[in-house]
Symmetry: C2
Subunit: 383 residues, 2 copies
Amino acid sequence: MNYFSSDFKLGILGGGQLGKMLLYETRKYDIYTCVMDPAEDAPCRIACNEFLTGDLMDFDAVYEFGKKVDVLTFEIENVNVAALDKLEKEGIKVYPSPATLKTIQNKAKQKLFYVDHEISTAPFTRFAYTSEIGTALKNESIRFPFVWKSAQFGYDGRGVKVIRTHSDLEGLPNVECITEEMIPFKNELAVIVARNSKGEVATYPVVEMEFHPTANQVEYVICPARIDAAVAEKARHIALRVSEAYRHVGLLAVEMFQTQNDNILVNEVAPRPHNSGHYSIEASYTNQFEQHLRAILGLPLGNTDSKVGGIMVNLTGEEGYTGKVNYQNIEDIMKMDGVTPHIYGKKETRPFRKMGHVTIVNKDIAKAREIAEKVKNTIKVVS
Amino acid sequence: MNYFSSDFKLGILGGGQLGKMLLYETRKYDIYTCVMDPAEDAPCRIACNEFLTGDLMDFDAVYEFGKKVDVLTFEIENVNVAALDKLEKEGIKVYPSPATLKTIQNKAKQKLFYVDHEISTAPFTRFAYTSEIGTALKNESIRFPFVWKSAQFGYDGRGVKVIRTHSDLEGLPNVECITEEMIPFKNELAVIVARNSKGEVATYPVVEMEFHPTANQVEYVICPARIDAAVAEKARHIALRVSEAYRHVGLLAVEMFQTQNDNILVNEVAPRPHNSGHYSIEASYTNQFEQHLRAILGLPLGNTDSKVGGIMVNLTGEEGYTGKVNYQNIEDIMKMDGVTPHIYGKKETRPFRKMGHVTIVNKDIAKAREIAEKVKNTIKVVS
């Protein structure tokens, strides 16, 4: 197939920020793109060749859209899988495959998948309904504290809660869920694995999530992670095993815990470009969006090494501000060495809303970390 | 002015490849963009917020377009300057300014400008008409060989011819022109200077054009240039002097000759992102398109240093092929380390038509040069 001609059409389900960054890369290769999203004013609208509005959970909408394209991918996991199944059977290339997506979409299934494939993961219990957790606590088959996770629709941190007492369980939806032992981890790590449709595989360097010293919140995503080479090697090896188990095509972001004993536990995966890989736009020889494209088109994978150290800071709405967004002090951070803001173009800010990200690159990662802290203390997303 | 909101509009005259690469950067900052180009299917069409078709040489079209925006820039020099003049007088920020553009658009004026500002340039003679050259030859005020350049519309190599004998003069248009002494240069160099609307200035490293050993054609643009540090320092210094003389806002690409005695002669300038700066997309901390944007918006300039060595190879249509384009062996070059093709999306190839470019990056510039040669010998633009 000649991708570099208008005979070929790439379809993307979801027209948000990740899709937008993927679309920049399609422009570089002049690949013809069609995007479907429910929102009329989705960020992707002005970067694709054809834009359709449509409900991503609606069978007919997804199926009709998929029939128009040669390769179909998505930037969000909440899509109608039955439609993807039918499209795949009818010869459309769907990457990642519906089979991969089905396992990932359900967190209980995903955890069982790791057990089946002898991939270490935090101990957990599966429940058909949240209401069954009380009995398990009474039986002492599980103990406080633990993490409650909804099996479905867990995308992007929604549907996750730390439970320390009975009262924390109140108000949770009564749905299929898992409870997971809390891991007193040394580091939270991630490795992005690229796998193309011909089976070629490449891993990105290990990144580290640095948490705020008191608030339980990721402040910096740092590449390379400041960990022992042996631990990094182990993390990449395990990410590769996860990738082999899924036999996905495209990117797979593997989130992991480094335990106090330097064991690696797989937390969860995302089968697409991921927040933990945004640093790659400025720091890597091949950024994650270009790599996803290379992978799903069956093109040779690019070099995953970094040119320079990279740190990403998420830009989220400040507490106490709602309304028309204002990026306070953005010019001050643009004066700093190796700093690139990425503004997602949402018109309104809300507390904690993800409004963009900032990348800081430097040959010296310690220096980058210093500048990242200055960035974090300078720019404010207010109204 | 808050650029990072939809209240602000950036206008771009010309919707070609340079504009397209500039538009990618506007997406990063979520800047609202309007583009005008005569071609319905201009490459910029799918990357801007508003697209208008219009003749860039037409006063009314340019004026009406300019009135809609807050800052106006262009990706091509052949635009109606009278309209820009009027827009500037009415308070629209036009960068580069009409005054800068007027000097640059006419090659005779541009050469006189260097003389007036005591900037070394190749000796030349100005003629009101090409037909007057014969008399000058008879008088021996000029001698063969020399370079004939049309004063107007000299953009991108058109309107330039090496003249060795009387017969070479035949068929040239009878227009305002200059004749220039041929410089037996050691190297052809270029330096991109960024200057923002607040007067902040930054120079990029010196790049070198490596010519084909026999054909008189640039094969590789190499950054950093493989020249003495003292010569590089001198070239950057002279580029700065040129920039100060023009007092331009935005980028200024300064093309120069390094003579046998290591003198630097200014050849010509382009007041915009330039082919000699394409390497910066992959190699620089701040690529030239982002830098142009920072400059014309009065934002702080970014770091112009390189993360890694960079080489650019132009992708031009092979001789003997006309028709629907095919990028032969593109997958083979994508396997090579640090290689990024940029496909411009022109549907038809013609001999020597500029169809794209390829960037090769590597920490070791000698290694990059080896890979660049492999790239050049592998990919072919055919039909």
